[in-house]
């Protein structure tokens, strides 16, 4: 079975010009003094089907850039991305990826049920199929009572749940969660963990970014540490602790990040 996600030579330079993209596609650097901010450079990553993978790094490390490139939300300067063997921009590949972004980016004109139904439509679900799944998602995420409430009128926790329900609405095989529990209270965090773990048990591949190291430790089978757009280390939580001679993942993280300063 092909990898759930395969990233080869991903480079993203923001405010890049067409000439920069041409040079980088030939593995040549932009001319000195040209080109914008280099967020990710020559980044490779393979994630096996069915795994629970964590991507950790400080703010500005390039996590959201990598996720945005996978989900076709930015134009990569160079590199190739495949999802289950299909190029990430192919319609088939897009159909099997679900994304819950770090920002709560819900459509302000839609209520909870409409948010799910329209998302199902965008991802090719029939009306009947979308209705069934939206009902299921509202039950799972305890959103049924708020079905007719528009997104801006929901509480922070409810918005987070809706964001996650929307990402899972079309039953993706690869789910990308960009800091899904940021700003969420402890109880909801545990509830979301339970749901995400159940999803993984059903065979869904999960790519998680988080700043909560205990969350990564608790959930992820494998973790990649990135900084400045580069992969520093990749291993299990135990493997990282042993690699950095640390007692906790937090210590390993601090040492890994500090080792580059």
């Amino acid at each position: 079975m092909p990898n759930a996600l395969s990233i080869r030579g991903l480079t993203k330079r923001y405010d890049d010009t067409r000439a920069d993209r041409r040079r980088l596609s030939r593995r040549r650097e932009p001319a000195p003094g040209t080109g914008g901010f280099l967020a990710v450079q020559d980044f490779d990553l393979e994630i096996g089907a069915g795994s629970f993978f964590g991507l950790l790094g400080p703010n500005g490390a390039g996590k959201t850039t990598i996720i945005s490139a996978v989900c076709n939300l930015i134009r990569a300067t160079a590199g190739e991305i495949d999802i289950f063997g299909e190029s990430h921009d192919a319609l088939e590949a897009r159909r099997i990826v679900g994304l819950a972004e770090q920002d709560v980016n819900l459509d302000r004109f839609l209520d909870v049920e409409e948010t799910l139904l329209y998302h199902g439509g965008y991802f090719g679900m029939s009306r009947a199929e979308a209705r069934r799944r939206a009902g299921e998602m509202m039950d799972v995420f305890d959103l049924r009572a708020k079905a007719g409430v528009r997104a801006p009128k929901l509480s922070g926790g409810m918005r987070r749940r809706l964001l996650l329900a929307r990402a899972l609405m079309h039953e993706p095989r690869l789910v990308i969660l960009d800091e899904p529990t940021a700003g969420v209270d402890f109880e909801l965090r545990l509830e979301l963990w339970r749901y995400i773990r159940r999803l993984h048990d059903q065979g869904t591949t999960i790519l998680l970014t988080t700043h909560y190291l205990e969350e990564a430790d608790e959930l992820c089978e494998e973790i990649a540490l990135i900084r400045g757009g580069h992969l520093i280390a990749r291993d299990t939580a135990d493997g990282l602790r042993s690699l950095y001679h640390a007692d906790s993942l937090a210590d390993a993280y601090v040492r890994a990040m500090g080792s580059l300063q």
Binding site: R94, R108, E114, G120
Partner: protein
């Protein structure tokens, strides 16, 4: 439903959902998106046409209150198609919920077409309501329905696409308001909504022919009244060229992702 139609619907579910979402937005905000512009334009017909019209002589043999109706309908529809799409796309970018659409399995032209649809629905609702009110108030005729349909189709394509383009380019709310208030509205007024350009002295008469909206208004006026300041083929040709240019601009942005994706 035939198998072919079902297959087509299956293939275009994303486009249909996005188009419906854009139309729903217009209908949910009906008091702002439809009623307010219809009232504003109808007040122009009442104030300028019915109240002052008796003191203004007929233009091209047409009573003044009838003469201004086609231009007012054109102006209201153009503004509606433009401002609806500019604000809807800008809002979606600003709140980042456009990412839900950009990451979906839809082709670039489907996203472009779906986002443009709301402006078309809004403009048609406003145009239809104004036409009914104008028929009641002024007995405006429709002398060349085919020309009128063609001219309205070009208007919808031109301003719906322009709205999407500006919605993608705009960095602030002010910027899309700027295009409406500083470009579309003045060019509409100067394009002969309230007068025949033939009445203007030189050089204003010639300068008016540089205004693209002048041609649009004349194509629509010909469809209603059978009179135009320029041959209708030229009026339709200029409008169609502008519509094609705006569609090409918008399509190239969605194809390349330029401005939409960092």
């Amino acid at each position: 439903m035939s198998a072919a139609v079902s297959a087509l619907i299956d293939r275009r579910r994303g486009l249909l959902a996005l188009s419906k979402r854009e139309a729903d937005r217009v209908l949910k905000l009906w008091s702002q998106t439809i009623v307010a512009p219809v009232l504003a334009s109808f007040l122009f017909i009442v104030v300028f046409g019915l109240s002052l019209g008796g003191r203004i002589r007929a233009i091209d043999g047409v009573d003044y209150e009838v003469f201004i109706v086609p231009g007012l309908i054109a102006m209201a529809m153009a503004q509606a198609a433009y401002s609806n799409n500019a604000s809807s796309v800008f809002q979606a970018r600003s709140d980042k919920y456009i990412n839900d659409v950009l990451s979906a399995p839809m082709r670039p032209w489907e996203v472009n077409l779906g986002l443009a649809f709301g402006g078309v629905v809004r403009a048609l609702a406003i145009g239809g309501a104004l036409l009914v009110l104008a028929l009641v108030a002024t007995d405006v005729p429709v002398r060349h329905p085919l020309v009128l349909a063609l001219a309205l189709a070009f208007l919808l394509v031109l301003f719906a696409s322009l709205g999407v383009v500006v919605g993608v380019y705009a960095q602030t709310w002010d910027q899309h308001g700027f295009v409406n208030n500083i470009v579309i509205l003045p060019l509409s007024f100067l394009g002969g909504v309230f007068y025949s350009v033939d009445l203007l002295p030189s050089p204003w008469h010639e300068i008016s022919h540089v205004n693209p909206i002048f041609f649009l208004i004349n194509a629509i006026r010909y469809g209603f009244l059978g009179t135009s300041d320029v041959p209708v083929e030229i009026a339709l040709g200029v409008t169609a060229t502008l519509a094609a240019a705006c569609v090409a601009w918008s399509a190239s942005m969605f194809r390349s992702g330029r401005r939409l994706k960092a």
